[in-house]
């Protein structure tokens, strides 16, 4: 028993070491990249250099960023979640059904939000069960969920737009817990979505670095067999990781739909790729075992800064996609270089 405990601690320790080694370097790189991109647009895009634009970037990256926080845990185990985009759409529609006026359920805000989180946990649990218990490859399990969620969103909404009249819902996301203030002649308003994003990033960083969930996720990602042999209940922790992923997607769905006060079932297709890209740009390794919450946040910010800046320069969407693609490529190349060096050492 004591040997098992010892090995477990060793595995945890190894995972932590592996999880952190080199990541501070990459973290610095992505931070520098964000600053460089931001400074570039300050000169290249008209009217970009305002505090309001920076707040916009934060609030518009919030839903992708929050979903990426959860997906970071899944990728840390060596898995992937392709269902976050359409899953988000399904949970947004579910929010509409729970909260909208009759013929919908018209639940109080708290109860409705709780149910949305439950739906998120359920989707995550199904993904987790398929991966951890039935042994499906995560790519296939979540691909299936991606399709099923899209269909379900259309089914339960009867393909209709659902208005959420509940003012609390919109206020939760768009309201200003921090009162508006004047700065340099313009009114600055920080939407709650920004606060939620920052708060959840802190929660995710704590979960990844200070709890068993994070340690075992990284341990499973670097060596699943060794982790299992050292007595860790790999199936259980994998399940937990996917459930956490589902919960973050549910919060992403609330942030996305709360902006408008209505939900449409056909949104969200392809968002999962932005979510994965945010994690990857941030230095989370797709082969598992290495993850970084700060990096994921910066990754999401880099993508939204690029989109915002290129839009404000008047560049067409095609080029926004090309530039984002190049950034993802560079991030992965740096990651591979780092791994080669680590292996050689």
């Amino acid at each position: 028993m004591s040997t098992t405990e010892e090995t477990k601690t060793e595995v945890e320790h190894e995972a932590k070491k592996e999880g952190r080694s080199g990541s501070s370097f990459q973290q610095l790189l992505v931070l520098l990249a964000l600053v460089a991109i931001y400074v570039f647009f300050m000169f290249a895009a008209p009217n970009f250099a305002q505090l309001g634009i920076a707040i916009d970037i934060l609030s518009q990256s919030a839903y992708i960023g929050v979903m990426a926080l959860g997906t970071t845990f899944i990728i840390a185990t060596g898995g992937i979640d392709l269902s976050s985009g359409t899953g988000m759409s399904l949970m947004a529609v579910a929010a509409g059904i729970f909260l909208a006026a009759p013929p919908y359920w018209n639940l109080p805000l708290g109860a409705g939000l709780l149910l949305v989180l439950l739906v998120g946990a359920l989707i995550g649990a199904i993904n987790g069960a398929n991966v951890a218990i039935l042994g499906l490859p995560p790519f296939i399990a979540t691909l299936a969920m991606m399709m099923a969620a899209r269909g379900l969103a259309l089914v339960i909404s009867q393909t209709q737009t659902i208005s959420i009249a509940n003012p609390g819902y919109k206020n939760l996301v768009q309201g200003n817990l921090i009162p508006r203030f004047e700065l340099g002649g313009s009114t600055i308003a920080i939407p709650n979505s920004v606060l939620i994003f920052i708060l959840l990033a802190i929660v995710a960083a704590f979960l990844l670095n200070k709890t068993l969930l994070g340690r075992y996720a990284l341990a499973i990602g670097s060596n699943e067999e060794a982790t299992r042999l050292s007595g860790v209940n790999v199936r259980f922790w994998k399940m937990m990781v996917y459930i956490v992923g589902g919960l973050f997607v549910a919060i992403g769905a609330i942030l996305y739909s709360g902006r408008f006060g209505f939900v449409q079932p056909s949104e969200g297709v392809g968002f999962e790729l932005n979510v994965i890209a945010a994690a990857v740009i941030g230095g989370t390794s797709l082969s598992g075992g290495r993850a970084n919450i700060t990096g994921t946040v910066i990754g999401a910010l880099i993508m939204q800064t690029l989109t915002k800046g290129l839009q404000m320069m008047g560049l067409r969407q095609e080029w926004q996609l090309v530039v984002t693609g190049v950034v993802v490529l560079i991030a992965v190349l740096i990651d591979i270089q780092r791994q080669r060096r680590a292996n050689a050492a």
């Binding site: 895009a45 008209p46 009217n47 970009f48 305002q50 309001g52 634009i53 916009d56 518009q60 013929p103 009867q158 393909t159 209709q160 737009t161 208005s163 996305y256 902006r259 408008f260 209505f262 449409q264 079932p265 056909s266 949104e267 969200g268 989109t307 915002k308 839009q311 404000m312 320069m313 008047g314 560049l315 067409r316 969407q317 095609e318």
Partner: protein, 359 residues
């Protein structure tokens, strides 16, 4: 008499409104409806048909005198893309008006929703077996019906495509919305709204489909040719409300002098409205395309100036007229425009428009 009928027709066509586009997905026709709408739609079409004088008659360039009267025994069989949705109810309404006017029976069917390709093929087979005088088809899948089309041609039954074309030479004509002309009309109204000058932006919902391109190009080319004092910013492509809102906001922030914004479908227009609200620019004029709950609400509460929509009643009417002409061996153009209409806060509650707008 002919002149007056044409005038009434033109007026009613202008007053018509509805879209064949879904919410933010780019289907060329609407999604199935809720049970609520299913029950209300037939009631509305009934009340509308009680007053045929207010309904659109021919409305197009072809005069009514060219359409031969039938003897009331021949049937024109229309196979639509759906049956429940109000868009198709409106198409049916127009088709039945034409049938009544020219003394033909009109049979109107459609699958439960727009994914049931096989179900639609079964309906087309039933149509063929009933040996009607002519068949109209709004194909769900432009290729899937080719075998049946061959059989229909072999049986000597003329076939007319409506709403969208099929990959075949067999249909004698296609009755559909001229998206290019409708987008030009949106541009024309926006120019009027901004007093003929200033910077305008456009958000196109899609740059790959035919519909998406026409709705984008029609707007840009109208501006280039007719509005020398209007500067058009490069278009942003966004097919989802959230992305469209981000794009709209970015354009407005980068160009504080912007006075107008066009969105080429419901999602793009709704995003444009959201972007204008979030950036605090209440002077900005937003024009859209199609209908849908979010656009209707925005037009009613003044956040959006107006939108162009397709005209389903005229589509149904023109389809039946084309079928009658085909039965009588008359020549038909390759494409027949089913028209479009502009609507804004001033006419959105007009019975002709309100009955057709779908949420």
């Amino acid at each position: 008499m002919r002149i007056m009928r044409s005038a009434i027709a033109l007026a009613s066509v202008l007053a018509l409104g509805l879209t064949a586009c879904g919410t933010s997905t780019d289907t060329s026709s609407p999604d199935p409806t809720t049970a609520e709408e299913t029950t209300s739609a037939p009631a509305e079409s009934e009340s509308a048909s009680e007053e045929p004088s207010e309904s659109p008659s021919e409305g197009g360039s072809e005069g009514a005198g060219d359409v031969p009267q039938g003897d009331g025994t021949q049937t024109i069989y229309l196979v639509s893309k759906g049956f429940q949705h109000r868009f198709w109810q409106a198409v049916r309404e127009g088709a039945e008006q034409a049938g009544e006017e020219f003394n033909y029976k009109v049979e109107f069917v459609g699958p439960q929703n727009e994914t049931q390709v096989t179900e639609q093929l079964n309906m087309l087979k039933t149509a063929l077996d009933s040996k009607p005088a002519a068949i109209g088809l709004a194909a769900l899948d432009s290729g899937a019906a080719s075998d049946l089309l061959d059989q229909i041609e072999a049986a000597g039954i003329p076939i007319i495509a409506f709403d969208s074309g099929v990959d075949s030479d067999i249909p004698l004509t296609t009755v559909q919305t001229d998206n290019y002309a409708a987008a030009q009309a949106a541009a024309e109204h926006l120019v009027e709204l901004i007093g003929g000058q200033g910077t305008v932006g456009l958000i196109c919902h899609d740059q790959t489909s035919q519909t998406g391109k026409q709705r984008c190009d029609g707007f840009k080319e109208y501006m280039a040719e007719n509005a020398p004092d209007v500067t058009v910013l490069p278009e942003q492509i966004a097919g989802e409300v959230g992305l469209a809102a981000n794009a709209a906001k970015s354009m407005i922030q980068a160009n504080p002098d912007m006075v107008g914004l066009y969105g080429s479908n419901e999602a793009a227009a709704t995003g444009a409205v959201q972007g204008a609200i979030e950036s605090g620019n209440s002077e900005l004029k937003v024009v859209g395309f199609d209908s849908g709950k979010t656009q209707i609400d925005a037009i009613k509460n003044g956040q959006q100036a107006g939108a162009v929509t397709q005209a389903p009643i005229k589509m149904g009417y023109e389809t039946v007229v084309a079928a009658i002409k085909a039965i009588n061996g008359q020549e038909l153009p390759e494409v027949i425009d089913s028209g479009f209409a502009w609507y804004d806060a001033s006419n959105i509650d007009d019975p002709e428009i309100a009955a057709n707008l779908y949420e």
